[in-house]
Each structure stands twice: as C-alpha cells, then as structure tokens.
C-alpha cells in the first residue's frame, strides 16, 4: 500500500515537471538567438591594463545597450567559479569594451558572457586562445588609502631614531601629548594636596 502511494506520488511529480519544462521551453522559444564574438590580446605583461572587446549580434543586426561581463575561470582553495574582471555595455555597433589589470601570471582563458534579457537568449563566447601573462612585477602596494604628510609618509629632514618615530606619527603624538600633559597637570595639583598637608602640619592653627 505504502509502495503504491509512493509510485503514484512519483508519477505526479514527473507529470508536474514535464508541464513546467514545457512552459519554460515556450518562454525560451520566445527569445531570439544572440551571437557573441570575442577579441583579446594573445599576451600581456603582469600589471598591464588589458583591453578586451566583444561584439553582440543577432539575426536582425547589432544588439545595442546590452551588458556583458568578461570573466576568467578561477580556483581558490577548494572553490572554483568565474571571476568577473571587467564589464561593458554594447554600443550602436553591438561592440562592448572592457579593461582590467593582469594580476597573475600564466595563461588566462578569458570568456565573455551575455546573460540574456526578455528579447535575446543568454550566450557565452570563449577567446580563441588563452592569453599568456608573463613578468614578475611586485603588485602589492604597502601604503593604501589617504596619505598625510608626516602621518604615513616619510617626513622631510630625514630625522632618525626616536625623532623619526615621533615625527612619522605627529598628529597622534600631538593628541597624546595634550592628553598626557593634562594628566601631568592633575598629578601636579595632587602633589599640591600633599604639600598643603605638610604645610598645615608644620604650622598648626
């Protein structure tokens, strides 16, 4: 009895899946086929700004104002996926341009992806050959963010030792000096309490 119920349930699921598939197929059938072509340089040097181009067309001609993504297949630890390195939007001729910085050596298998829209179906194009990236430039920049003279850049005058240490962080040093000076003032007045007490002991009223 239980087995029979399961079989009926499985049949119902299969029918529902088939109906859904036919509906989504009908929707996809309403979209026109799009074609992507892709141009990328054959080689680049590490740190170079690489410009890539894609052309998106359909049977009716160029597809304009369509967003495309330039991606590189990437793996990291136990994960993998397409990393977006540049984005572009097609112009009047259906051409989109993207620029990215080559940040790892080896061969990069670039792809361009059009995710599709209500009118055109999604499509992908892969570069005819991987782009070879060579070089050994150090891309790491130690000082990021804002640069304040004297705060995180070397001050002029080439002070050394403790003076350099202090000068290289003068704003923080100034604030700390102000606060600790006020502490010192409070300690000074505290010492006056002791002095006044001793004076009162020496000259009892």
């Amino acid at each position: 009895m239980k087995m029979r119920s399961l079989q009926i349930g499985a049949c119902l699921v299969a029918v529902a899946t088939a109906v859904l598939a036919s509906v989504s197929g009908a929707s996809a059938a309403g979209q026109q086929q799009a074609t992507l072509s892709f141009t990328a340089p054959a080689s680049a040097t590490l740190g170079d700004q690489v410009t890539v181009q894609a052309k998106l067309t359909s049977a009716a001609g160029p597809i304009v104002k369509a967003p495309v993504q330039f991606v590189v297949p990437t793996t990291f630890l136990n994960g993998s996926g397409d990393m977006v390195v540049a984005r572009g939007v097609t112009d009047g001729q259906g051409q989109a341009t993207g620029t990215f910085e080559a940040r790892s050596t080896g061969s990069l298998q670039l792809k361009v992806v059009f995710s599709g829209n209500d009118t055109y179906a999604a499509t992908t194009a892969t570069a005819t050959a991987p782009m070879a990236v060579s070089g050994n430039e150090q891309l790491y920049v130690p000082d990021i963010g804002i640069r304040l003279r004297g705060l995180n850049t070397t001050p002029t005058g080439q002070a050394t030792g403790l003076a350099h240490w202090f000068l290289s962080g003068w704003p923080i040093g100034a604030v700390l000096t102000l606060i600790w000076s006020m502490y010192a003032a409070a300690v000074f007045f505290m010492s006056r309490v002791v002095a006044e007490g001793e004076r009162a002991t020496e000259t009892p009223s």
Binding site: S168, I179, F189, M190, V193, A200
Partner: protein
C-alpha cells in the same frame, strides 16, 4: 564645601541639612566592610579563585598547543576572546564617562554611586585589555606591536587609547578617594591592621581638609573630569575602527564609531545598575542608594535603548535597501540563518528594557535590574553577531564556516568574569564604595518619595477666583 551652623548642624553646598547622626551612620555603613570580614567573603573569594585557576590551566594548555585549542580557524579568526574584549571595554565605558559628565554639569543624584561606576571602568578595562593578549596565541609577540608597530595600524591606536584611558580612569578614581582615605585613616587607624593603616596613611596623601588642599583637589578633579570625556569616547571609537577599517561587508559602515560608543554606554549603565543593586544589598546601603538612583539610571537606560533601536534601524535599513556584495548573505544569516538566535535574542534584549521601564507598574528597582540584565546579555549577543557575522561572509567562492567556542575559550571567558568579580570583591575591602565626603557636602540625605517634587508636564491652570464682594 561643607558649612557648619552655629548650632553644629552641617549643611550641603545647596543648603540641605545633614544631621550628625545621619553622617555618622553613613560613615559606619561605608567603612564597615573595610574593618571586618565574614567567612562568607572568603568562601566567595575561594569560589572565584577556583574558576580563575581553571582558566589559567586552560590558558597554559592553549599556550602549549596553540590556537588549535580554540574554535577559531583561518576563515573565522576572531571569536570569543575578541567578543569579550569588546564587551568588557564597552562595560568600562559608562562608569567614568557618566561620572565625569554628571560632575561637569554639577548633577547631584549620582554622587552615592559615582565610586562604583568609576571602579567598574578601571576593573573592566584591566580585564578587557587581557583578551587581545590571550587572543594572540603567542603572548611573546606582544613586543612586536611596540617594536614594529606602525601609526597607520588601528591595533596601535587601540593600544595607545586603552593605555591612556586606563591611566586617566585610575587617576580619576583616585582623586576623589583621597578625602575618603583620610576618613579611613582617621576612623579605622586604631582598629585595623598595621599594613592596612600604612596603606590608608599613604593613600590619604596627607589630607587634612584645609582650604588649600580642597582648592588643589578641586583643580585636579576638574582637569580630569574634562579630559576623561573625550578620552572615553575615543577609546570605543577606536575599538569600532578595528572592525570598520577591516575590508569586510558587515563592517563597511561609517556609523560604527557612534554605534559602538552608544552601545558601550548602554551596556556600561546596565553593569552599573547591576553592581549598584548587588553592593547595595551586600553592604546594606539601602538608605544611601535609594530608588532615586535606580530611577534616574533606569530612565537613562530606557533612552539608550531607544538610541540603540534607532542605530540598528538606520544601519539595517540603509544596508538592506542596497543589498550590495555580501549583504544578502549577512542579512539571511541574521534574520533566518546561522546567527538568527543571536540576532533575535539581541533585538529582544534591546526592546525589553523599553517595555519594562516605560510602564510605571514595572518601573521598580527589581524591574530596572531585570532590564539591565536583559541589556547586558543583549550587548554580549550583539558583539557575537558583529564579530562572527562579519567573518562568516565569504570573500572568495567558498562555503561560509561555522564557529563555536571550545571549552578552553569558555573556561578562559569564565575566568575573566571571575577575575572581574574578584578585583571588585577585593577592592571593596580597601576602598569605601560610596564617596562619603561628596555625598555629605553636595547631596545630603536622600529625599523621601513624599519630598520629591513631581513637576507636571503642562502647567496646571488655576481656577479663577471670584472677587470678594464687600
């Protein structure tokens, strides 16, 4: 400064009478714990020391085996230690800040509890500052932050801010203690042990209450109460920057500085209320710490609850509206995902005080203490959400990892809480927990309920009086 009438009656600086027997009773009550110790106290200290001993054993184990003893791994590399660090620094915030602000504006109602508030600051800072060291794994590497530290690093800012705040808070705690140490020296000198007598004599700094001494002490306190306010605000701002300057989705918000300061005051006030209730009961200070102090701090807690609700609303609405990068993952995690129990627990803990304190039937001492417990738990959960929630958002295409503190972490956390309570318990035996001289000179006996003037919100309209007819 106190005034004594020709009949011997003392008056506060606001002209309120201070009966001699009331002052005598206040001094006796406040000094009683310094003079005698019961067996219960030693049992309590023994209990705390046992927990601390367990924590030390577990820490040595962590030192030997490394941070593999903890639940922290490469994906979630901040855990219970950093949560506890932010929590304790938060508690430390309200004490000195509250005391300083109220002294600056010459408020009087808080005087019986300022000492406790200042103690919480110093003790919580001492305990909180231990956690980054415990989190280091290799404690010897602490030298590196001094040797190789860079001004650009928020860790260096944090080290400087906490050191500065701890020094300032200790100084700010000590200054108003001087006249009370003199009181201990004069009242307990003959009855207490020789070493304790020496301690009181040295700590009293030769205080005799001369006009010159009062003037010098007043100046020192004025300087400290002014400087400690920005220092206190800066400390928790810098703690927030440890997160806000890290490139992680939930930390990418400009509101963190103000949010952390508000959260710190919120949890700090709750801690003061709880400690106040405990010490009031244990030290039998019911006549000096009355409903007035609980009501005032309760209303403040209520206001801070609303401020926290506002901050949360502001943060989640703006971030949730845009849903950039890792925000959808983080929101799912908070609302219905891995961190949902923590998040909703936090929300309940923030709203509960509003419901408890806003309505007169529950606006009692017990109600306010209950609200404070809710707040402390909520703020601990909030720190958990910030730290663990921030690290759970994947920066690369990998699965989010879970984090659960291990027994080692829980034992060390329990040890830190025990250390916090131990230091306060020991301090109670050396320092008067109420600033006697300030209460006598500026506050006097607490007004009864019947004496408290309740100003109506709108002026009452007097009925027109009919002119007398001759």
């Amino acid at each position: 400064m106190d005034a004594v009438s020709s009949k011997g009656m003392q008056y506060t600086d606001q002209g309120r009478p201070v009966p001699a027997e009331w002052r005598e009773d206040l001094e006796n009550r406040v000094l009683a714990p310094l003079a005698k110790t019961t067996w219960r106290y030693f049992v309590w200290i023994g209990f705390l020391l046992a927990i601390i001993a367990l924590a030390v054993v577990m820490y040595i184990r962590q030192l030997n085996n490394g941070l593999i003893e903890t639940g922290m791994r490469d994906r979630i590399s901040w855990g219970l230690y950093i949560i506890s660090f932010v929590f304790f620094i938060g508690i430390s915030h309200a004490g000195t800040l509250l005391s300083a602000i109220l002294r600056v504006v010459k408020a009087r109602w808080q005087l019986p509890v300022t000492r406790m508030a200042e103690f919480i600051t110093v003790v919580a800072l001492m305990v909180g500052a231990l956690f980054p060291l415990i989190d280091l794994g290799r404690i010897d590497r602490i030298v590196n932050i001094v040797q190789y530290g860079r001004w650009q690093s928020p860790l260096v800012w944090d080290l400087l801010a906490i050191t500065t705040y701890l020094t300032g808070s200790a100084l700010y705690l000590y200054l108003p203690l001087i006249p009370d140490f003199a009181l201990c020296r004069d009242r307990l000198g003959a009855t207490t042990s020789a070493w304790k007598r020496s301690f009181f004599t040295i700590a009293a700094a030769g205080w005799k209450g001369t006009p010159g001494q009062r003037k010098a002490l007043d100046r020192a306190m004025t300087i400290m109460m002014v400087v400690i306010i920005p220092v206190a605000v800066s400390v928790h701002t810098v703690v927030s920057w440890l997160f806000a300057m890290t490139l992680r989705e939930p930390f990418n918000t400009t509101v963190f500085g103000a949010y952390f300061v508000a959260g710190a005051i919120f949890s700090g006030v709750a801690a003061i209320i709880i400690l106040m209730a405990v010490l009031r009961k244990v030290l039998h200070l019911e006549d000096y710490i009355t409903k007035n102090q609980f009501m005032a701090l309760g209303i403040f807690l209520l206001a801070m609850s609303l401020v926290m609700v506002y901050f949360n609303l502001s943060e989640y609405v703006t971030t949730g509206y845009k849903m950039e990068a890792g925000a959808p993952f983080h929101f799912h995690d908070l609302m219905v995902g891995y961190l949902a129990p923590f998040f909703w627990g936090y929300i309940i803990g923030v709203i509960a005080p509003v419901l408890i304190i806003a309505f007169p039937p529950t606006r009692t001492i017990k109600g306010i203490v209950t609200a404070a417990v809710f707040v402390l738990v909520a703020m601990w959960l909030e720190r958990y959400i910030i730290v663990v929630g921030g690290f759970r958002v994947p920066l690369m295409p990998y699965d989010a990892r879970a984090y659960a503190p291990t027994f080692t972490e829980w034992a060390i956390f329990a040890g830190a809480v025990a250390l916090f309570l131990l230091i306060i318990s020991v301090f109670v035996k050396f320092f008067p927990m109420v600033s006697v001289w300030e209460v006598v000179e500026h506050r006097g006996p607490e007004p009864d309920e019947s004496e408290v003037v309740h100003h109506p919100v709108t002026p009452r309209m007097e009925a027109p009086v009919a002119p007398e007819v001759a």
